[in-house]
């Protein structure tokens, strides 16, 4: 049962009458293993928060089943589900100090004071709030309140930890470090956690698997590496990854044993016919019009490539982001060293067949990734 520790079966959420109201979550099914960290990722209104709230029990499940730790829980009130939740809006009790806020659940469970102190101390140190434990929540900055709220959720013993936008307000300099610490904390204790976020960076950093949602539907449910390398459709491909994936519509033809991809504005990408596996080539040729996607860090500068003109070259300390005009559009490249090009430079762009993601222009579904079919 551990690989199906939490299980959503054909879950629907309607706001208003079933089948008539707003269909916020559409037939979502997913399994979560014990000890896994899952991110529900999507833009606002995609249904991710509704899904989380159904798991927590704050929202009635309109249709479908939710199993947690071997029990069917969709009819249970929140208090009986044994889940801990950190809210987006901090929601600290304003009348008691930060320490008592964090210790609240432990004290309610009548743990000995020394144990409570030790646990609070540990989690406070992890989240860098040891120095503000005696302050009142109202005197804290947004980032501090959010860390206190996280601490209050993480300190509990629960079957499942639900974190709603847990780090949106965090100070930027702390974010990467705290993500590492929180991931370590969860993993070390074998805690199962689901976090909701609109920030793909956060989802990638923390999650073992990401559930990408849009329009109430689960678009893809896979590991960060899988989503990066094999996005299921154009939405996932362009939503996950910063800088976003470059996308160009092309028309394909075969001439003289070469595969030509005609870009807008008359330029062409030319590949040897065997650059793609036969079944990929067939899938491309039956459609003719396709959309190619290529991740910025796989775009190469190479004399033999297609010409492009540099629009900007932005050095960020550890990466260079270059934008160049290319085929009536803009192509973005990421280089990990400081790039020496300046605005107006002519560069040549090479897109390797192994780095191409190919999508159906009508449905947006992925046809192939690199050399393999999707």
């Amino acid at each position: 049962m551990t690989d199906k520790y939490l299980r959503l079966e054909n879950v629907d959420k309607f706001y208003g009458p079933i089948d008539l109201g707003v269909h916020a979550v559409r037939n979502v099914s997913m399994d979560v293993a014990k000890g896994e960290i899952i991110a529900l990722l999507g833009s606002s209104g995609c249904g991710k928060t509704s899904t989380l709230r159904m798991i927590a029990g704050f929202e009635a499940t309109s249709r479908g089943k939710i199993h947690l730790a071997g029990r069917e829980v969709q009819m249970l009130p929140p208090v009986k589900r044994h889940v801990a939740m950190a809210f987006e809006g901090y929601s600290l009790y304003p009348t008691v100090n930060v320490r008592d806020n964090i210790a609240f659940a432990l004290k309610a469970a009548r743990l000995p004071a020394s144990e409570v102190d030790a646990k609070v101390g540990e989690v406070a140190e992890m989240l860098e709030i040891s120095d503000i434990l005696d302050r009142s929540p109202n005197s804290l900055s947004g980032g501090q309140q959010q860390r206190a709220s996280l601490a209050r959720a993480l300190i509990r013993s629960a079957d499942l930890f639900l974190l709603d936008e847990p780090m949106g307000q965090l100070e930027p300099q702390l974010r990467t470090l705290l993500r590492g610490r929180i991931k370590h904390f969860l993993k070390e204790r074998g805690m199962t956690a689901i976090l909701v976020t609109h920030d793909q960076t956060e989802a990638n950093a923390l999650a073992d698997r990401i559930a990408v949602m849009e329009d109430g539907m689960l678009q893809q449910y896979a590991s960060p590496a899988e989503i990066k390398d094999r996005p299921a459709n154009l939405f996932t491909g362009t939503f996950v990854g910063e800088p976003p994936m470059n996308v160009f519509p092309v028309r394909v033809s075969v001439e003289g044993g070469k595969l030509h991809m005609a870009l807008e504005g008359g330029k062409e990408l030319v590949y040897a016919e065997d650059a793609f596996a036969p079944e990929v080539r067939d899938a491309i040729m039956t459609r003719r019009d396709i959309v190619i996607g290529v991740r910025p860090y796989t775009v190469r500068r190479d004399e033999s490539g297609v010409e492009a003109t540099v629009l900007t070259n932005q050095w960020l300390g550890d990466q260079s982001h270059i934008a160049a005009s290319f085929a009536e559009a803009t192509v973005v490249l990421v280089e990990h060293d400081r790039a020496d090009v300046v605005v107006g430079d002519r560069i040549a762009i090479r897109l390797d067949p192994s780095d191409l993601h190919i999508f159906d222009p009508a449905t947006g579904m992925a046809i192939s990734h690199g050399r393999g079919l999707a």
Partner: protein
């Protein structure tokens, strides 16, 4: 100088937000004001725009002292963080408002609004009221309004703050071209260090006590004035470790997790002085055990970050170190690993003051 601020003081009730601040911006330059919220960045922009007045000090724009000059007479374009569009006017009227104020002819206004809208790709929504626009379109309309009258001074108050990540990234790539085409002097406020480095000819870092450092993005990133500034630039943030350099065989060196890291000989003066060692996560490499200067660490977590892989590791003494490498390059993800630090990229700061120690400086 296109804008010259001298000894500006501004308080709100008892709170002194700006204390004797001086700053110059040259013609055609893009200066980024960077700093945490509450540092007075927005206040400074409002002082320059003339909607609030300084308690003390002089503001000179294009050679003219601005004391007593009303905001509408300053010829400035400004974009606000919350857009501040006129809710009862459509996008066209919003963009046209600086032109109507300048009593341009109707045909002139029409031409210019269309030109700006074309540049910002919002021609198709010119007839929409602000509440019918998406956040991205609002932001572009606000920018269009600021640019419409081709002002010689542009003040941009964190204009990308309230748009989503994807759009923010696109605009970050697009803005330098737009700004250079205007040939305007630009002051750009942001809290995002990437925006600051990408857009600024120079960056003025504001701290709790006014301007902490002014310099090119290179200056700020490679030679930050103190640990606070060093931490503000770079994601993941710079590693800061308390150390006391010792005299080694070949010069000054640092003991880290049982290994010895040699320092540049120019740091000979710091031996015995309590320092903070600053190491950028991207200057640390994973390597094989056994080589000289290699430090053993225990890996705690691996977190992918925008085409990079960030590893949180702990030294034997339990000190945390962040290491970043390009995504897709090999590296260990659990257990014990070994790292090598490039000493040439290491920075030293004074432990008491946090100020950077310059090579060649003596104790």
């Amino acid at each position: 100088m296109s804008i010259q601020l001298t000894d500006i003081v501004k308080s709100f009730k008892t709170d002194r937000v700006l204390d004797s601040l001086s700053l110059g911006v040259s013609r055609g330059e893009t200066l980024v004001l960077f700093g945490p919220s509450g540092a007075g960045k927005t206040v400074l922009l409002r002082l320059i725009a003339g909607v609030i007045d300084p308690d003390e000090g002089r503001i000179v724009i294009n050679g003219v002292d601005m004391e007593g000059v009303e905001p509408e007479e300053r010829g400035i374009g400004m974009a606000f963080q919350n857009f501040a569009l006129f809710p009862h006017m459509d996008a066209h009227a919003n963009i046209a408002s600086p032109l109507t104020a300048r009593r341009r002819t109707r045909a002139d206004i029409e031409d210019r609004v269309n030109e700006v809208a074309e540049l910002l790709k919002i021609r198709h929504v010119l007839g929409h009221k602000p509440k019918e626009l998406s956040n991205g379109q609002k932001q572009r309309t606000a920018l269009g309004r600021a640019l419409a009258a081709e002002p010689s001074i542009l003040l941009l108050d964190d204009p990308l703050r309230n748009v989503d990540a994807k759009l923010r990234f696109e605009m970050r790539l697009e803005l330098p071209r737009l700004l250079k085409a205007q040939e305007a002097t630009v002051i750009y406020v942001t809290q995002d260090y990437k925006e600051a480095m990408a857009l600024g000819d120079r960056i003025a870092v504001m701290g709790a006590h006014g301007i902490a450092q002014v310099g090119t993005p290179e200056d700020i990133y490679l030679t930050p004035a103190d640990t606070t500034i060093a931490r503000l630039f770079g994601d993941p943030a710079i590693n800061l470790l308390d150390v006391v350099p010792e005299q080694g065989g070949g010069g000054p060196e640092i003991q880290l997790s049982g290994a010895r890291m040699p320092l540049d000989t120019a740091y000979a003066g710091v031996v015995g002085r309590p320092c903070i060692l600053g190491i950028r996560p991207e200057t640390i490499r994973f390597t094989e055990a056994g080589a000289p200067g290699v430090i053993p660490v225990e890996i705690e977590a691996e977190t992918p970050l925008n085409e990079k892989t960030v590893t949180l590791a702990a030294t034997r003494a339990g000190r945390e170190i962040l290491i970043s490498r390009p995504a897709g390059t090999p590296g260990p993800d659990r257990g014990t690993a070994h790292i090598a630090i490039d000493p040439s990229g290491a920075l030293l700061f004074d432990q008491a003051t946090g100020k950077r120690i310059h090579p060649g400086e003596s104790a």
